[in-house]
């Protein structure tokens, strides 16, 4: 069966510091991968998605970036965090092709002080 991992679970960072959040998927090959941010515990904002290694599409211009160095690894980064980057970050995967169902990781709560 497939599983998706995110770490760290919680992160407190000072403004201006770098960020690296990691997401890995097990039990599947060539998944579509997604990064979302959820603010105020409700709506999901799609940040990045990837349909393959090295293929990243950005949905919202911001100081975040994403990379996919391996088939089942998706990384969210920032060189300098802003206060507004605080939130709950969720990674998701989908089988792609004919199935758009997305399966979510446990999330990372980021607090920028």
């Amino acid at each position: 069966s497939q599983t998706i991992h995110q770490w760290p679970a919680t992160l407190v960072q000072p403004v201006g510091s770098p960020l690296s959040l990691e997401c890995t998927v097990e039990g599947t090959s060539n998944p579509n991968l997604y990064w979302y941010r959820q603010a105020a515990g409700r709506g999901l904002q799609l940040l990045f998605y990837s349909v393959g290694i090295g293929q990243i599409s950005s949905e919202v211009p911001q100081n975040l970036s994403a990379s996919r160095p391996q088939d089942r690894q998706f990384i969210l980064s920032s060189k300098k965090l802003l206060l507004s980057d605080s939130g709950f970050y969720l990674c998701a995967w989908s089988p792609g092709l004919a199935d758009s169902t997305q399966y979510f990781g446990p999330g990372t709560r980021l607090l920028v002080l």
Partner: protein
Amino acid sequence: SQELEQSPQSLIVQEGKNLTINCTSSKTLYGLYWYKQKYGEGLIFLMMLQKGGEEKSHEKITAKLDEKKQQSSLHITASQPSHAGIYLCGADIPGSARQLTFGSGTQLTVLP
């Protein structure tokens, strides 16, 4: 762009009561997904509907997609405290690389 509106935004019910959450789309739905989220956790996939008039059930939760494929409802029978959480609907975005757009969620509280 396609927008999903969920109602109500929040709901408080007594344990054992039935309840319904609605998800309405501004455009035709080609795939409608229901998720549940507990605070501070990831989303759990519940079920997916594609065809007009389709209905699916999982334990005491039933989801329906109307014939016009613009509205879906999630019905919980005999609610329990374990049903508490945020319920979100998501929809396929036509022409996208398997992207979903999500509603803002319905916060459900079940009082014991």
